[in-house]
Symmetry: C2
Subunit: 115 residues, 2 copies
């Protein structure tokens, strides 16, 4: 799906870019997902965060089944065009496990015992 | 480099995970980088954000040449262990272009003209 808006984006060899998802109110990082050109175009056109599911190999509208949708306030790209940042208003928990973010309570420490 | 601390992490087929980097004070998302197990181990041991450079194919201590180092306050993993979040205190601009973050001023809008 060629789209000249995305000419400066550097999709990887699978046609994807990682998407960092940030809650605009709290500034929390909610999750990391992936987008292809179509998911990005749909996100921009609908205002609903849309991704590419690598496991299901299909377009995925966040919250389509759970109701935990993300209203997209802004889409940014980084300096070399190979990463997106979606700034969103999250309805309900972002994580499918029910936590506010996918990073909740999952800290790795230097002293976590090695072998 | 086996490390039992990382047994639950899902490195990709290149042995990498994406790392979302967030400034702990402002909560800004600074950049996205990549880590292999060694870069993560070094980050935890030194407290300095360390990555794997995909272009140079080498370990990369952020700020080693520029002085724009990142003191790591916390390292988190996400629900399925395939993404890391480094919470950092950034010295100077995070982006090699001199902007505070790699996402500064790079918004994509729905009306950015398509072909």
């Amino acid at each position: 799906m060629p789209d000249t808006r995305f000419a400066e984006l550097a999709f990887d060899d699978r046609g994807l870019v990682p998407v960092v998802v940030q809650e605009t109110a709290t500034r929390e990082v909610l999750m990391l997902a992936w987008a292809d050109a179509e998911a990005l175009a749909l996100t921009l056109e609908t205002g609903r965060a849309t991704y590419w599911s690598r496991s299901r190999q299909e377009i995925w509208v966040k919250g389509a089944t759970s109701g935990h949708v993300q209203e997209v306030v802004a889409v940014r790209t980084d300096c070399d065009g190979d990463t997106l940042l979606y700034e969103v208003r999250q309805t309900g928990p972002a994580c499918h496990t029910g936590t506010a973010t996918c990073f909740t309570g999952r800290e790795i420490r230097a002293h976590d015992h090695a072998s």
